[in-house]
Symmetry: D2
Subunit: 187 residues, 4 copies
């Protein structure tokens, strides 16, 4: 059984909804299971016990939520020091109100999560452009739920974005299973 | 007189339109003048003779157009080596078809242009959120003209984006003039 | 009098040393003054009362310290919403143990701080390559104090890096003064 | 047989050496084969015929070589449009003279290559920190051969960096083989 941890921070419940959709996608893949946890609840054992880890965050000033960064600084850095996450599989997702038609910092937010993933030596799964719903809930780096219109009015997370999140979860689950059985990095 | 060079690459004329709008914005500021050139036409003297340089590009696979990168590799790197652009003022703009609601690589495209600017020691002028039209033509890093709808259908560059480009040009012109008279970096 | 706030997070005192060196550089420029504060101590009024803000952080997993991110999420985002920092001047610095010869995430750490700065509409001052000591304490995005050797052994922050930090502070002070008197963005 | 394309640009032969070391690493993995090509020589068929693609570049002003960007703009964008590279495996490597102790733009150079990779829907293989020689030839995003000392004097690419490049090639080969047999993305 391949185990996947979905860890997130959320302010108004949008990223939380996305997290649960990602986890649903994971469980659709036979032989995998998902655990969903808030960033504040995750300890090192949650991560070392997982074969895959998916990070999700709202966009705050072009970067991830500080609670997720706290987890990275205080927990992930210990895993990095001891080489405890190398070879796991990972992906990212985000939500954001946007403001304008250019993402409002979504790209660098996902990238800041991916940097932690790369430092940990985890294989990174992007979101392919042919994913159904991509135009409404996707970016190259992962699923993205836009929660505001271009004038910053809140609109919640769309069904399309949740659907993309589900497909993203399934993709990462398949990769986790395949690479658990076929390790990329030699011990 | 503060001289500003607007350098760009363009495929279908959208970035070219933005370049001319940026230059119009420059000329609205008393005591400044603008020259607009295609990336292929720019030589080192064009840059050393300018007090400010504004770079514009379409978004191609999340990065700037290769013709602009060629200019950076072959001309800007020489300026870098000899410290010839330090203290000038700079800014960026871009156009992109988008695909989806999250910018389609616009952010990293602007950033790749800004990295050249930072390496050259040029002061970077962002686009403030209260710029009229920001929701339709702006990002934190500069003016952004979206030229496709979320399904990749071409829509051209909007009047709002051109208006933002003009305001961005005026901002950079004011900064260039102020910092030409008050050098930031000691000789 | 141009007022500059130096805000930082620090674990072992290295970034704190850099912060005080940056502030020393500020005070060397006539007509400017510096206040140094830990990220946890800064409130919105500290920022709105400043003409320039300099952010410093250790590198943690390729990103800024979570305490600085908390400040950005909880305080800077409010300034962003109300357009209260537009036109101020800003810069960044960092420290990091490095590991290897390629910066160990220093670049994206500085960039994550710069993204907040750009969102706020603040003018960004890079570190020019001809800064004395650059090879030991600089990057294009700002001063960088390397606090470990390539094998991760702690070596503290070098005199060269502190010297670069001082020069960086002076540069930002000069820019702050010049742009306070000559606003870039129209009200 | 899993086929891997190593595509690179090179000025003084350093990145070329790295490219061949990466390819050697690929061929050490049973059931995989490598082709090494200069960016100018690669056509779309080279890419569609490959199961994995590894991109390498010198660092120029904090970004990839323009010849590689030209390939991306003119060839990869066509693959993107038609969804022809989705699910392939990818990685990156770079060389750079450095200047200073913080990478001199290596990180954003690798990232600009990775952005193309993510847009194409390719799975990204990082370089784990426990790779022998990492301190001399690695970054989180891939192998990095430093070709200059901190004062910009050329020193060539080190044996350690070539060794890291070989190990990186083997890692990507193993991942390519595993994911060719176990597709991540549903057709």
């Amino acid at each position: 059984m391949a185990k996947i941890l979905v860890v997130y921070a959320s302010d108004y419940g949008n990223t939380e909804k996305m997290a649960h959709a990602v986890a649903e996608g994971v469980t659709l893949v036979p032989g995998t299971e998902a655990v969903v946890k808030k960033a504040e609840e995750v300890v090192a054992d949650d991560m070392t016990a997982s074969d895959g880890i998916i990070f999700g965050s709202p966009v705050h000033m072009g970067g991830m939520d500080w609670r997720l960064k706290k987890l990275i600084d205080t927990v992930c850095s210990g895993l990095w020091m001891q080489d405890l996450a190398i070879g796991k599989v990972a992906g990212v997702f985000a939500t954001g109100s946007g403001f304008g038609g250019a993402g409002g910092g979504a790209e660098l937010t996902m990238l800041s999560m991916l940097n932690n993933i790369a430092e940990l030596g985890m294989i990174m799964i992007p979101l392919p452009k042919n994913t159904p719903g991509y135009a409404k809930g996707g970016m190259q780096w992962g699923a993205y739920g836009r929660t505001g219109d271009e004038n910053l009015n809140p609109v919640g997370v769309s069904d399309e974005a949740l659907s993309v999140a589900r497909l993203h979860g399934s993709n990462i689950a398949r990769a986790t299973k395949a690479l658990k059985e076929n390790p990329v990095f030699k011990a």
